[in-house]
Symmetry: D4
Subunit: 229 residues, 8 copies
């Protein structure tokens, strides 16, 4: 097993980490932002040749690259809102992850989180546009907050949603600040700071606009909590 | 009247602005932080000689200075929580200002706001420790939020209280970020940014820990709203 | 009434807050920046179906989106300077709000503030290009500053106008920093900090370039001050 | 149950949130930093009168306050390294949480995390001084990383430990940046940014020096993962 | 002359720059902050032995160091407000420099500027506490602004005074931001940014609290303007 | 004269400050960045009708606007490097201003400074590409540094040139940081901080890329120093 | 020799520093970012006329400029990944420099470093995509780390690679933060801070994305270490 | 050898890295700032028992801790300026490292660098107080700059010294920004940014006030350059 953990394939511009699934429970996910379609295809093929049971993900992949990759890898699907390309594998969804977002503009990040968690085997329920300026819309989600094994909160501007949710659920909360807003939002820094300084316990934070990271973390917690290996 | 507006007394280290009340509706308030007790006494006496109907305020005045000033100006009272020294004047309190704070540590700033507003003639009602992690404590204040002519929200850490309150009241909201917290609170910058980026309308913000500024602004709005000159 | 306060319509990508007017005195305003024309139209129709007496506003709406919305909602008007789309309703303008700006480049933000206040029922008077480098231009506005129930000050670069105005009026001042300038203006942060640190009392601040927020706040204060519900 | 969720006791300077345990699974934890010993005692007594089965915690409590509280509440214990005061309750520890720290100077924060998790019922294993400059010390912890249900990583300076650990474990990782270091560490901001930008998936971050927050989050995940309610 | 320009004395911990006066028109000024009394005495003696006609200055010298230096150098005088130690030399004061400050708390920085300029041979006139919240106090200084050859403006908080003065004088303006204020003043950064972004032309800025630098610059301009070499 | 000082023309979107020349010694300069060609033309015509002896300047004017303005105001000239449009007036150049820049990329800012000073009547001498990495190129400019009445130093990246020049001249130095560089230059903030913290006396700083401000300040000093009114 | 050190050619917009090679061991390198193709050609020709034995480099040169320069200087070669134009000269490569990068997106910066070092005479070995999330890929490079005379580490996001490498090699490490990442990476500031705060000794840092600077520094160290002059 | 590389001793609060010397060429150096005297003694003894040929260093050790450690480890020496405790071992000094500092206040950091390098076997030559405001003092050090194998430049305030030195030497330059200065020096950030943005090649930077890091890096380069293993 030790060997399997340390496996990787050197394809020149990349060293594909085939031990990742063994070590971390999930194969390498491709960060598409700084890569050409050709590079993505090559890494994807290396992963496909090695792992046949888990979904494979490419994040931050724009539609132009997606078209090129899909031409070469016909099984790949694409979600334009989440900017994700993926090969869907695996069986029935388990557990329950709640994905909440504060406003309509936060949708792309929320969808990246939701889709990531789904591809990693989680049952996901969405509650969008439940920002704190109309708190009753959030309070109406109490049943969802009660049955969730993990809650993802996506919010830009002042990012206040995280703290309120933290006070309404037993589940661990993953907060995702978004860059939605203008001026003193500082590209998402304002929401990030809010979430880090939350007066609510049981919450941790990922990078600005990092829906993927939140979905991954929540999926791991959810799987553990329902006894998935 | 023009002349009265432009009146000031030059006492060497200061030019006491006696036209302030005529121009702005309220005499000069002494910022105690960078002044000696002697300087405060001199300015106070200049103001007392000129204005006999309005309360006079010294903000950010520690107890040592306060003792020295009170020895020289026996009518002066002192509030140790708000760090304010004052001569209380004027008649019955009017209108209604709600002062809310998120946690016990925000009390000194909240009291500076409340006391300022009271000294400027407002009726003030306090609701402390109503932070968003236990949102039901805030929702229980709805009647107060309904009758207030102005609402002051004092909060540190992530400063989320402002946005939630903004969605629950018709009154204008003055938000005061505090330096309460640690680490990524950046001495209050986190709460300040939250409040500036609020998704709730009808809210404006003053400097970190500036309870005085919020109390003053709220008092002006409150007085106007109940037809005080 | 409690129920009316908690009313909302779930249209999938949004939960339109129909209780807003009951709770806050004004229906939900649509933040156009992160929405498609289709989303704006759907939310607008939901609001139109529910509220028939108040003006409806869409802020940060560029001309392309505006054209599409106007095709679907013929009553909608558009102001290209303020980048606002709106349905104008309501009767005679009341009270007096002064909107001052420091320079010609601050006009779009000043117009967003002025138009918002007008749509919310306020009588608005503009005094543009009264920056402090030619202070006599501002001093000439004293009569306006005397009759205003609220003053909006819009300024970029060093944002000094707020403090000077604060010393010339009895009315509450809402300061709007703008991103006008270059280099060390840091996209408006310089003006924002100036306004937050103002030596003048009776002033509060909104986000950079947030003309809407200032207009809204001023309109609420103005209405209260002339006895509007 | 709804009522129990919304229970709170108003003791003047605080509104003790007795619904917290029902809503969030754990009673209110007292943030000691901004409170007097008297205030802590009063809140503690209110909590003790209401909750008899869970441990009660006071964080950021210095030794002087601890002495005063212990005089009034004899059952309270104190940990000087973690700066925590607590009433220990509950039965056997369950699951496994790994607490790693990069260097000896990070110990107080690591102990705050470990003690919090233990008081919340978790079995905790510590591996201290496993910083990345001597990576073999970390690799020697592989068995611990394999059996943990949650991993807490505490590191200051460049905060690199989080990413390396993230690549070695299947468990969710909670990263705690510390203020250890000098100069360009910016009081912990450097480590915080490192952890937020981690190239490893399955990791989320709490505030600088927030050992408590990490311990709480990990304890919730751990309990869920071993089927605790 | 070339040689004189390049003259320096190596006294181990310092290389006293005796060519400074020849190159820059004024001997080296000692920055007292990071030096022991012994180091200051040694450098001062080296300067005294070399230059007999210009005033010698030690800035940022606290009273303890000053006492020790004065014991060793009996001719040295000390100004506790400006925190400056000096040997006064030279003849009649020439020209006119106006030193303005916004509030009483800015006095120490203003005095450092004024005293520096005086020691460098300038006639200095002070106008203190002329902040913009009472603009008439500043307008009353118009005759001074008209006769000055250089104007120094000292202000903390929002630093707005510089721009207003810049619009009222023909003389070059040197602006000195101070660290006076709290919260979002960021230790003087707010005032510094204001002054750098001034809409008034003919103004330049020195470091926060750098009264010395402003006094030096103004003295050079003043001397040049009245035909001093 | 008082009246002349307070003269202005209200043309709707602007209040042209015709008292500026009387108060400040130079007519209003038009900041072209936030204005349309039509607005520039209208302000220019207002100034031309009022002032017939001084050069008129429009800064930050791109070539498209310049073409439109020149079509309407045939006397206007344009400098594409300095991005300035102007009407040149006045007689012989007087005094001596040295304009130094560190590298070729700083040329546009240096030219804005030089041209401004020339249009305001100064004799200007340029020494470009004298950055400190080849210090002998700067030392070769000693004669220029000796005869200058004011020195302008333009530098990006680390902005070190200012301090070195400050140690080589008797003249006052105006430092202009530029945004030249990348990464940790932070858009010019690095050079700005360097210049503000200079160990050399007799130097003051203007905004990033503000060649105009430096040229204006230097021109005022130069004129004063050669006895120009 | 002194004269040779101080040699430069004034070509108007630039003063080409022909003494650089004598003083610093290497001729001036042209920073292409702020220069026109014409300016680059002129400086290159001046350098070519003076130096016939060393490679000549133009950094940050985009393909459009490169085409124009190559048309005029046929010997010039171009590398599109590194964005470098160069004239290759010199003999056999000596020593050993290891260039490591964390991910595929860091390739352009790594190639700028590698090519610079090669053109300056170093033997370079590359190991790309060895980021810390799959630490075994890095550990596999131990033989390279053992034989290198200097190690260049290129990493974005959290920049953790530097510290790990610092603990695995005897050679001096030059760390290059890159702007790869998003959100809280702050354009490379996060990686920069990580590297500056490294717990590993024997490492120093260059500017964000400054592959050239790292390659240059490493080449100097490598040459010295193998006894090259 | 592999085993020796991976050797460490677990003493509870620390895992002393005995493989460091084998891997990195030098034993672990103790960072004294966050450790008690007892912890330092324990780690020191563990190192002493394992390594008998290299000097052992404790950095950032104040005099109180030093006294306690010296009582327990009589061979330990202490340098109060550099705040370093050490056991000196090894033979004759080799090569040449130049340590330059800009001003007297930078001495403690410069001495930390110099002493570190000396203890690691380097011959060190100091040139202090050679700041750029008197550039001739630096130019007088040319012979030292010519014979050095590595140059350390220590400077606070604007940190300009690094760039000038970089243009005068063939040796690699390690720049150390210091926190010397006030106001906009931002605790050393200003000098740090200057050095990172240097226009001179062949220079890299360490953390603010990190004399140790610079001394270590320079010692490694120096040793390599004179053929030491």
């Amino acid at each position: 097993m030790e060997e399997e953990r340390l496996d990787f394939e050197d394809i020149g511009f990349a060293k594909v980490d085939h031990g990742r699934a063994e070590r971390c429970g999930w194969p390498e996910v491709i960060y598409g932002a700084g890569k050409t379609a050709e590079q993505i295809i090559a890494i994807l093929r290396s992963l496909m040749a090695h792992d046949r049971k888990d979904s494979l993900l490419v994040t931050r992949c724009d539609v132009e690259k997606a078209d090129l990759v899909q031409a070469a890898v016909p099984d790949a699907e694409y979600d334009a809102t989440a900017q994700m390309l993926y090969l869907r594998r695996g069986g029935e969804a388990c557990g329950c992850i709640a994905v909440l977002c504060a406003g309509t503009s936060d949708l792309p990040v929320a969808e990246e989180a939701a889709l990531t968690a789904e591809l990693m085997g989680a049952h996901v329920e969405r509650a969008y546009d439940v920002g704190v300026a109309g708190i009753h819309r959030l309070l109406a989600q109490q049943p969802l907050l009660d049955r969730a094994k993990a809650v993802i909160v996506v919010a830009g501007m002042e990012g206040a949603l995280g703290s309120v949710v933290g006070g309404l659920t037993k589940a661990p909360v993953i907060a995702v600040p978004t860059s939605v807003g203008y001026g003193a939002n500082l590209g998402g820094i304002s929401a990030l700071l809010s979430m880090l300084n939350s007066c609510a316990a049981g919450m941790a934070v990922v990078n600005i606009d990092n829906g993927f990271g939140a979905g991954y973390m929540a999926a791991v917690i959810n799987a553990q909590s329902v006894g998935q290996p």
